[in-house]
Amino acid sequence: MRVRRALASVYSVMLVAVVWEMVARSGMVPFFFLPPLSTIAITFAGQIADGTLVQETLLTIFRAASGLAIAVAAGIALGIGMARSRAVHWFFDPIVAVAMSVPSLTLVPAFILWFGIGHESKILLVALSCVWSMAVSTYNGARNVDRRLVWSARVMGTPEGKLLWKVVVPAATPYIFNGMQVALPISLIVAFVFEMVAGGGGLGFQEIMAARFFKAPDLFAALFAILLVGFVLDRILRLVRARVLVWLQG
């Protein structure tokens, strides 16, 4: 029964794979349009073996992760600041609202101008893209802390200064994690597209180069790599979240 259910859940994927292979090998479509899955797999394995794919993948991940780390730190700080001080909130609220509606990728040419085409520009743009949603999530988390939790802590002797760290931040962590789950794919997308536009290595650069030279298997290999990265990183974040938020119900 269990095996049946597991099979049932993959059969559509396998069907697509089989159809893909057959259509690609039939000659109905040109090679550069849709190479056979098997060829892609071989290319993929080959690129892992000689290290090229791994290197580019790690590069993209490095840029995305660094930017995300900065955004998380700055976003949490900003969010807490906005939650604690009405003045800070008043000042930053419209700024955050406006900043969130600017598609950060429009700033790629500006960032190239300011920071060049190396790592820094990509890391900084990723950070800029993610910081606002982190700030908003943290702010919401800090504001939505049940007053009764704070009151109970005060009654039990927690000094005002400690309240933040002992009550507010822990209570806000579910929101912060939600913010991170939203920011993670954004960080990957921004890093990836920046690489596509500006070059400088990474999976995005790999993919666009493969497209320009019509090297279809390489294109698909890069595509699958980014898919895999997105999937794996999301899973890791979920695991970490489950561990840290083991106390959360539902």
């Binding site: 697509v16 000042f91 609220d93 598609p103 429009t106 040419p109 101008l113 898919l227």
Partner: protein, 287 residues
Amino acid sequence: MASTATAPSPRATAPAPSALSPRGLASAGSRLPGRLLAALSRVLPIVVLCALWELVTRTGLVGTQIVPPFSTVCAAAVDLLRSGTLLQHLGVSLYRALGGLALSIVVGVSLGISMARNRHVENFFDPLVSLVYPLPKTALVPLTMVWLGITDRAAILVVFLAGLLPIVVNTYHGVRSVDRVLLWSARSLGTPERGLFRRVVIPASMPYIFNGVRIALPVSFIVVISVELVASKVGIGNLINGFGGLGIYDYMFATILLFVAVAFVADRCAVRIGTGVMRWHEERDAS
């Protein structure tokens, strides 16, 4: 009510104060400047920021080659609007974004509904949806470039694929979460089994469907820009890239700001339409 006095039922909630009552007039009078003040106070930090921008660039703190002054950017924006360049490219980008969005709504809602109603359809598409979910749809741009070249169709395809997921997922949940007591009540009130879908399921899932569209809208705008940055000869993204490449930064920033304004207005319109159409919905979106 039958057995009690003929006076209006005391259990009815009190009528709202009429606009002509002293309380009504007072609140009407204070409402206008109050709201104006609130709106101004929201805009003030932005104004401060723009002033800061102008100050910092004019005093030479930051070189004007790095960041053009705010006033120059505004002048460029005006020129762009007047010359029609912006409108031309904006038209292209909007066509691609909204065209792709329309397609994702049509296909996405249909797919979401079929998945919710039919176990087999759900089992078939569910793993595919989960598989594609972590892929940033902009990663498909080089692929569509190979398939369809640097055309409108390629851009629309990417926008379509990007918007599909949120719409399918939200529609699916909307249809699935129709409360069974609503379906049961309708049956007891005489609706035949096959009438339930039109009479109950569709209206009940509207808020969810609309939420999916509301999420997909900004996604379409962002994706269009990304596509145009990488693989297009026209459109706003391409325009931004062009100005940047030629070093005409005041025009570049002007284009960015104008585009953001358009996207903002589009989102506001969508919200307005949504709250209008769904006046009945419990959770009124405050934004």
